[in-house]
């Protein structure tokens, strides 16, 4: 078992038993559920919307080179720069070099999961640059020195009291109120200084629009707006899979992203930026750099079954509905992307050996697939990952042996029947001796959380055979 898997098991055990944590998550998710339903009601034909979004992303991904090149050409024509980074190191180096070239001392960042993926902030901080997360949720977890809990609402695991305490410790001991409005005001005042002082603003991009050659960012707080309006240098860090063919595609993608992400009809700001400020414009960045990050995505294109995983628009709906996520929370996963999409994607971005356990940490209930706005067959991909792991020899040989033995039994009905009868008999004796849950009990894991399984004296097969022999139909209903 990989260390990541061990850590996951431990964290999951702790979080599963944490009823307070579960309550916080439940309240947050109830709020999302209600908002999401309202959001869905604004769309006349939700299934048609999902279908359309799936088609748009499929077209984009199936012609990824063409659309990326179209996007790049337009950005460069406007005086912007496009850098293709094969991996985290290259992406971080590029941004670091840019910062060094322009004497950047302060960076303001709006939320970007890709920057988490490539660990950009630590790289910049190592170079002596102060990085401010400006999305309120990200700002909060940055102060706590922990990763985001959820890709859309990074601080949903905290209550107002904890946040007020945090602000008192890190920002201003005089903070008296824990009202969310007052806490937002504190963050606003603090971050405003940073917005106006920073030499570089870093953002992500929800979409890269090929025909217009613009990036599209969907936000609510206005921090993304300020990051991309005030500093002299604007850097966009984005995955190569974010591209869409046309500007008009946003007419359905924007509402669907907002509905799935927060239940809104549309996010407050749908920002479109195509390059540095033009001559005659009042303001805007003088330097515009788009860093296209590959980091394993191009390899996923070759996977006929799982290419569609690249359709993900990072809305977070699968996290919200996942019962596993609701019970263990976002930090337990130990990956940049938690929840179902994280479990599917991470083995491809990192290693299957190290992260395959996430594909097993699912009951395959399929709720994720049912809500995905781009119709990714998430739970089937988890199954495929499991198969891929065994085919790659990444699973325990003892487990393989066990299934080989199981297979042999199942191919011989009489062995199966005898095996079943023996197991029931042995367990009846064991439990009769009061040894349920002991080291001798093969069902001890089951019995940790549940009362013992029933152990009937006859299997159905035996009942059926007896019934046929005696020609007595009483047990099985009149014919």
């Amino acid at each position: 078992m990989s260390t990541a898997a061990q850590r996951f098991l431990q964290d999951a055990a702790v979080k599963s038993a944490d009823l307070m944590h579960r309550e916080v998550i439940r309240r947050g998710m109830d709020s999302y559920d209600a908002a999401h339903l309202k959001g869905r009601a604004r769309i006349k034909d939700w299934e048609a919307a999902r279908q359309k979004c799936q088609e748009i992303k499929r077209e984009a991904i199936n012609h990824l080179d063409r659309y990326l090149l179209q996007f790049e050409e337009k950005v460069i024509a406007r005086g912007g720069h496009v850098y293709w980074a094969a991996n985290s190191e290259e992406a971080c180096s590029y941004v670091k070099n840019l910062a060094a070239r322009f004497g950047v001392r302060t960076v303001v960042k709006s939320k970007s999961m890709v920057t988490e993926e490539i660990h950009l902030s630590p790289a910049l901080e190592q170079a002596g640059i102060k990085v401010w997360e400006t999305d309120l949720g990200e700002f909060i977890v940055q102060l706590r020195n922990e990763p985001p809990y959820h890709i859309v609402t990074p601080a949903m695991h905290l209550n107002r009291g904890q946040i007020a305490q945090l602000f008192r410790e890190k920002l201003d001991p005089a903070i008296a109120s824990d009202d969310p409005r007052d806490l937002m005001a504190v963050a606003r005042r603090k971050l405003r200084e940073a917005f106006f002082a920073a030499e570089m603003g870093i953002s992500g991009a929800n979409f890269l629009v090929a025909d217009a050659g613009v990036i599209a960012i969907s936000t609510n707080e206005g921090n993304g707006r300020l990051c991309t309006s005030l500093p002299r240098i604007h850097v966009v860090v984005t995955g190569i899979e974010k591209v869409i063919p046309r500007l008009e595609d946003l007419a359905v993608l924007w509402p669907v992203l907002a509905t799935s992400g927060t239940g809104q009809g549309i996010t407050t700001y749908g920002t479109l930026i195509g390059g540095p400020r033009r001559a005659g414009e009042v303001d805007g960045a003088e330097e515009f750099h788009v860093v296209l990050v590959d980091n394993g995505r191009s390899q996923l294109l070759a996977d006929a079954e799982q290419r569609e995983v690249l359709h993900c628009i990072r809305c977070g709906a699968c996290l919200n509905i996942c019962p596993v996520f609701r019970h263990v929370g976002g930090h337990t996963y130990g990956t940049t992307y938690p929840g179902p999409i994280g479990s599917v994607l991470t083995p491809h971005l990192n290693s299957i050996k190290e992260f395959k356990h996430l594909s097993y940490a699912s009951s395959l209930c399929g709720a994720c697939t049912s809500v995905c706005p781009v119709k990714i067959n998430l739970h089937h991909h988890l199954l495929q990952n499991r198969r891929n792991a065994t085919e790659a020899g990444a699973t325990k040989s003892s487990e393989r042996m066990m299934f080989r033995a199981w297979r042999s039994a199942m191919l011989h009905p009489r062995i199966y029947a005898l095996g079943g009868w023996s197991m029931r008999k042995a367990l009846r004796i064991l439990y009769g001796l009061g040894l349920a849950g002991s080291i001798l009990d093969p069902m001890r894991v089951w019995n940790r959380y549940r009362s013992p399984v029933p152990l009937p004296s006859e299997s159905f097969r035996a009942i059926w055979r007896k019934d046929r022999k005696q020609d007595r139909r009483k047990n099985l209903g009149a014919n």
Partner: protein
């Protein structure tokens, strides 16, 4: 000429919950179907398949296809097992010589409530069950077989039955087969959340179309010493009125000690 169906009884139902199979037969016979039980059936292969061991699952699936090759219709009192055949045999047996047979078999394989409502075209099956019942929407039946209404339609026609809706009835109970073995803490936590939702209804019974969910829930509820008992849909539908109501109903799941 009597219509005939072949029973597909999941391995763990055969071994641990035989009453579910007995009741399935009872319901089908009451509706006038001849019931056949191919005794050579063992397991559909789901445990190995779900754990990623497709090479080990494949021969079991092929055995299954051979056993049921001549069945007119296959009826199974389990959403997840019916799903295995209907949804996943195509992938699992994609390069098998039995691929065509598997696809043909899949089109003739039904979960019980699906069979009753869509094939037999009945919702009234002559059952009496004067108790309060809440329904857990098992995941495979709901999302793979798209059975949202069928079990409820049947329950609503049961004489004397009061259906109480559970909050988050479509949230997974946490069993998931392999998942319960590998991640027992999460599985237990999910089961307990479901048990809380069950308890909140105050219902005497919780039912579902998947015996694996019910096995797991029965264990969870038992550990909590909760009063609600689990009962499979087939057992409710098989239940008939007692001539003497005061007499203890031996056919019902026993109350917890």
């Amino acid at each position: 000429m009597q219509r005939k169906v072949s029973l597909f009884i999941p391995c763990f139902v055969d071994q641990l919950l035989p009453q579910v199979a007995v009741d399935t037969v009872k319901v089908l016979r009451r509706l006038g179907y001849g019931v056949d039980y191919p005794e050579d059936q063992t397991c559909c292969g789901q445990p190995a398949f779900n754990t990623g061991y497709w090479d080990e699952a494949r021969p079991c699936a092929e055995h299954f296809v051979r056993v049921f090759k001549h069945a007119d219709a296959v009826v199974c009192p389990s959403g997840s097992c019916a799903t295995m055949v209907r949804t996943f045999y195509a992938d699992l047996l994609a390069s098998s010589s039995l691929r065509e047979d598997a696809l043909a078999l899949a089109s003739r394989t039904f979960e019980l409530s699906e069979f009753l409502v869509k094939v037999a075209a009945v919702t009234q099956v002559g059952a009496t069950f004067p108790h309060t019942v809440t329904y857990h929407a098992s995941c495979h039946g709901l999302r793979e077989l798209k059975l949202r209404d069928e079990p409820l339609q049947l329950l609503r026609q049961v004489n004397g039955l009061t259906l109480i809706e559970m909050v988050r009835s479509e949230e997974c109970c946490g069993f998931g087969g392999t998942f319960a073995a590998k991640f027992p803490d999460i599985s237990g936590a999910m089961g307990n959340s479901k048990a809380e939702n069950v308890a909140a209804t105050g219902a005497e019974f919780v039912t579902a179309i998947d015996p694996s969910c019910l096995l797991h829930l029965e264990g969870i509820l038992g550990k909590r010493q909760a009063p609600t008992r689990t009962i499979h849909l087939a057992s409710i539908l098989a239940h008939e009125s007692r001539t003497n109501e005061a007499q203890k109903d031996e056919s019902l799941p026993q109350e917890r000690p």
